[in-house]
Symmetry: C2
Subunit: 198 residues, 2 copies
Amino acid sequence: MSRGTRSGRPSEARTRLLGTATRIFYAEGIHSVGVDRIIEEAQVTRATLYRHFTGKEELVLAYLDQADQGMRAQITGARAPDAAPEDDVRAVARAIADGIRSPGFRGCAFLNAVAEYPDPDHPVHRAVLAHRQWFLETVTELLGRAGIEPADAAGRHFVMLRDGAMAAGCLFDPELVCETFLHGVESLLTGGAAASRA
Amino acid sequence: MSRGTRSGRPSEARTRLLGTATRIFYAEGIHSVGVDRIIEEAQVTRATLYRHFTGKEELVLAYLDQADQGMRAQITGARAPDAAPEDDVRAVARAIADGIRSPGFRGCAFLNAVAEYPDPDHPVHRAVLAHRQWFLETVTELLGRAGIEPADAAGRHFVMLRDGAMAAGCLFDPELVCETFLHGVESLLTGGAAASRA
DNA sequence: TCTGAGGGAGAACGTTCGGTCTCCTTCGAT
DNA sequence: ATCGAAGGAGACCGAACGTTCTCCCTCAGA
């Protein structure tokens, strides 16, 4: 999918371009930033952009693809090979909470993107759907391994909590959001016996 | 706030304008639709738009204000004066679920809007925050009346489920989303004893 | 040594953007 | 009867949009 340099790997200008696009798209949205902003901050010329990408849309898709890969790495990194399955779920939840608490958090890149691309047939919209499908399946499998039944309902519940936490994380107090989220995940794991903590 | 006709109420052109803007903004986003589209579909002229609104931004604010009023009406309408407090919560949840299931549902107008206006100082962003604050307080009060303690934590939990449901409602199967949401609300009300239904 | 891709610099393309303007008509209230 | 707001029709503005183009330089691989 990524058409880098003919001879070998990424190309420095392309890396700078994609990195800058990622930072700006995530922080400010997609439709509201023009290619001029991106090429300026990436310190490349207009021609360089269009040598590596067919247009802005492909840049957006590359941005989401990078975010997708980052999240996959984050999740596989959070799982411990010899831990209890429930602890893998907790680790994933903790990783999500850490992201929400981190400075510069601006919500879920995919939920933000899909808000700007409502058309279900649009490539960007489809990329979001594909990512979410993978995430749901991954979480469901993790919960099933942890013995939570029915696993698919639990997976949907987990994703719903996550979506709500990601959406509210940059609109409310992130600490309270994370507390609520982790609490919800815990009661999902223990079957609702975690209503003790404030 | 609404500067309608000098002599009396709304003015028909203004109503058409706001209705069209509401429909298009909700269905397609804000930045990606221009004023030309709106004045064309509202069948008014350019001058008429700028006679009733100072610019596009004020039109966006009016759109969100209308959505806010609609939701307030929906919630006060869902509450029954002589019902048990928990049933008021259930009624609100059911109203939300009905919205998600309805055709043309495209997520939460406020979450969608704030994804396009990340700047916390922007009037549109602030309008979203104000709406969400009202909603959180309203739900928290309802839950407190129902005897759910601590009410503020329960309110945040409810809002988190709602946000997740609204976000996923137009990306997954709405039926499953609603089922998951209502199930989550029920277990919030009964203290986690609602893990029986599939 | 040559060749061709990568990249810089920048002009230019046509389109759309949000917004302002003038001119004319309708119509209700004073 | 008249005055002024509401509205239609449409020209117009400068700016930004995404995109394509030419020209030149550099540098690594064949």
